[in-house]
Symmetry: C2
Subunit: 327 residues, 2 copies
C-alpha cells in the first residue's frame, strides 16, 4: 500500500481524498492543515487530521505527501521545503514561473534523496503532455489550446470585487467557429477575442446600478476587455441552484503536414470535459503519486515533471498486463 498524506484540505485536498479511495493500492494516512485540526472534518473514517507543523515529524508514516496549496504563495514555499523530507507531488500552475520553481525544488529533492513531481494536473499536466507528443510527431504544424466551457476562479473573483456585486461566477467558453477552423486544418491566426468568450452570472446588491456594473466588468483590463463578454444578472438563489459546480475542460489541437512536399494534413486533438475541475486534477495527481513512489523506490531523486515520467509508472498494472491489455 502506498501511504498518502494530504497537505491542505480545500477543494483539491478533498479531491485527493476521493481519488485515493478509488485506487486499491493506496491508503490515506493523514491530512495536515494550517487550520485548527479539530475544526476540519474529512470524509474518510479513522484518518487523523494533524496540524501542518506536525508533518515533518511524521515523515516516516507517509510515502507520498501531496501538496494541495495555491500556486501564488503556498507552493513556492511548501514544495521546496517538504521535498527535503518527503516524496511530494504538487500542482504548481503559474506557467511562467515553472522554470524557477523547478530549480529550487530539484535542489531540495536531490538533497533529501526524494522525488518531487511538480505542475501535475491537466494544464499544466495532461495538456502539456499532449502538446509535447503532438509537437514531437508533427514538427511542422501549429498548436492551439482552448479552455472551457468552465469556471474560471480568477475571473469569478474579479467580478466579485466590482462595487455593487454580491456574488458572481464566470464561464470561459471556446468559440465553436474557431474550434472548427482549427479542426479542419485551416491553421487560422486567432486573436484572444477569436478564441474564447466570457459569460458572467452576477448577483447585484439591491438597488445597484446594473448598467454601471456591466460596463465595469466588460471594460476590466486583462480580465474582460479583450473578450466578448456577456453579463447576466440573477438572484443569489439562482446562482446557488444553477452555478454551484466547478466544471471545466478544454482542447489541445495540433495540425501539421507530412509528405515529401508537405502534401498531407493531420489533426491531433485531445479534449477534456470535466464535471469537477479539482477532482479531475486530483485524479491526475494521484496517478503521478504512484509514479513518484515507484521512481523513489528505484533510487531516482530530484524534481520531475510529467515530461520526465514514463507512462507505465502511472498504472497499477504491471508491464506484462499493460502490453497484453492496453497496447
Amino acid at each position: 500500500m502506498i501511504r498518502i498524506g494530504i497537505m491542505g484540505y480545500g477543494n483539491l485536498g478533498r479531491g485527493i481524498e476521493c481519488a485515493v479511495k478509488q485506487n486499491p493500492d493506496m491508503e490515506l494516512k493523514a491530512v495536515f492543515t494550517r487550520r485548527a485540526p479539530e475544526s476540519v472534518q474529512i470524509l474518510t473514517p479513522g484518518v487523523p487530521v494533524y496540524s501542518a507543523q506536525e508533518a515533518i515529524k511524521r515523515k516516516d508514516e507517509i510515502d507520498v505527501l501531496i501538496l494541495c496549496g495555491g500556486s501564488a504563495t503556498d507552493l513556492p514555499e511548501q514544495t521546496k521545503e517538504y521535498a527535503k523530507y518527503f516524496t511530494v507531488v504538487d500542482s504548481f500552475d503559474t506557467h511562467a514561473r515553472i522554470p524557477e520553481h523547478f530549480a529550487k525544488v530539484d535542489k531540495a529533492a536531490a538533497e533529501g534523496g526524494n522525488i518531487a513531481v511538480i505542475s501535475v494536473g491537466w494544464d499544466p499536466g495532461m495538456f502539456s503532455l499532449n502538446r509535447l507528443y503532438a509537437n514531437a510527431i508533427l514538427p511542422n504544424g501549429n498548436d492551439y489550446t482552448f479552455w472551457g466551457k468552465g469556471v474560471s476562479q480568477g475571473h469569478s473573483d474579479a467580478i466579485r470585487r466590482v462595487a455593487g456585486v454580491v456574488d458572481g461566477k464566470q464561464y470561459t467558453i471556446p468559440v465553436e467557429k474557431a474550434l472548427e477552423a482549427v479542426r479542419n486544418g485551416e491553421n487560422p491566426q486567432l486573436s484572444v477575442r477569436d478564441k474564447h468568450t466570457r459569460e458572467c452570472f452576477v448577483v447585484p446588491e439591491e438597488g445597484a446600478d446594473l448598467a454601471k456594473i456591466e460596463e465595469e466588468i466588460k471594460t476590466m483590463p486583462n480580465y474582460f476587455s479583450d473578450y466578448d463578454t456577456t453579463v447576466n444578472f440573477i438572484t443569489q438563489e439562482e446562482l446557488d441552484r444553477n452555478h454551484s459546480g466547478i466544471p471545466h475542460g478544454g482542447f489541445v489541437i495540433r495540425s501539421g503536414k507530412t509528405g515529401w512536399n508537405e502534401e498531407n494534413s493531420h489533426v491531433i486533438e485531445y479534449s477534456l470535459k470535466l464535471d469537477s475541475n479539482p477532482e479531475f486534477t486530483a485524479a491526475v495527481i494521484v496517478a503521478y503519486a504512484r509514479a513518484a513512489y515507484r521512481m523513489k523506490a528505484e533510487g531516482m531523486t530530484g524534481c520531475k515533471t510529467v515530461f520526465d515520467i514514463a507512462p507505465a509508472y502511472l498504472s497499477a498494472l504491471s508491464g506484462e498486463e499493460l502490453r497484453a491489455k492496453m497496447l
Copy 2:
C-alpha cells in the same frame, strides 16, 4: 545527427524518409531492400539503396534502423534478428501477439546491448498511450476506441478477392450516434454493429452480376457480416480519382466517475484525423527513433514500448526548453 536506416521501402518506408527530412537532428543514411537495389528509386538525393543482406555489415554507419516490414511475416523474424546488431524501431501491430514478440525482441536487444522499441504508430502507439493515461487517471470508467473514417487495407483486400471484382476500397466509419452517446458520458453498451459501418467502393468486371457481388461482400464472415455495409459500384477511373488516398484516424474515449459518491463525470477524448495513415505512423516512429537513440546513449538496453518511454525523450528540445515552452 542521428543516422537513420530504413529497412523496407514501401508506403511506410517512404513515410519514414519524408519524416526524417522534417527533423533537423536526423539524417537518412541508407535504405535497405529485398528487391534489386538498382530497381528502387528513393526521394532523397545522394542516399544509397543497398540489398537487405548488406545491412549487418553496415551497422556502424546507422544509429537507428527502422523496420518497415509487415506484422504478419516480416517483423516477427526481422526485429529479433536486427535488434542483435542495431537500435531498432518497429510498428508491429498484431495486438494479440505483442507479448510474444516483446519477449523475443527483449532477449535479442539485451544480448546485443541495444534498445528495441516495438509496436510504434497510432494503434498500437498513440491510442495505447491514451488508453493507459486515461485508465490511470480514471480507474472507475469505461474505454471506447473507434476507428475511421479511414481505409482498411485488410477489408479492401477482401473485396478484391470476390469473384467479378476488378478493384475496390473499403472505408471504416464510426457511427456518429454511438460517438455522441460515449461523449455524453452515457456509458453505452455497444455491439460491433453499433460502433462502425463499412462503406465499399467496388469496380466490377464488365457484365458481372452486381447483386451477387454485393451479397457476397455483405455476408462475408469476420469482415462484413457483423456490420451495416454499403456497396457502391463505380468505374476504375472514379476509384483512381476519388479513392486513391490512404486516410485514417479514430477516437479513444474514456468516461469515468470521481467524487466520494462518484457523483461527477469526466470524459477524456483523443482523436486523430489523418490524410495519410503510413506517413503519420512514420512520423510517430521517427520521434521514437530519437528516443531510442538517446536511451541507448544513456546505457539502457532491451525491448521497450511507448509505455516505457518518458515523453521528453521524443522531443528535439531540451528539458529546460520543454518546461519553459510546453508545460
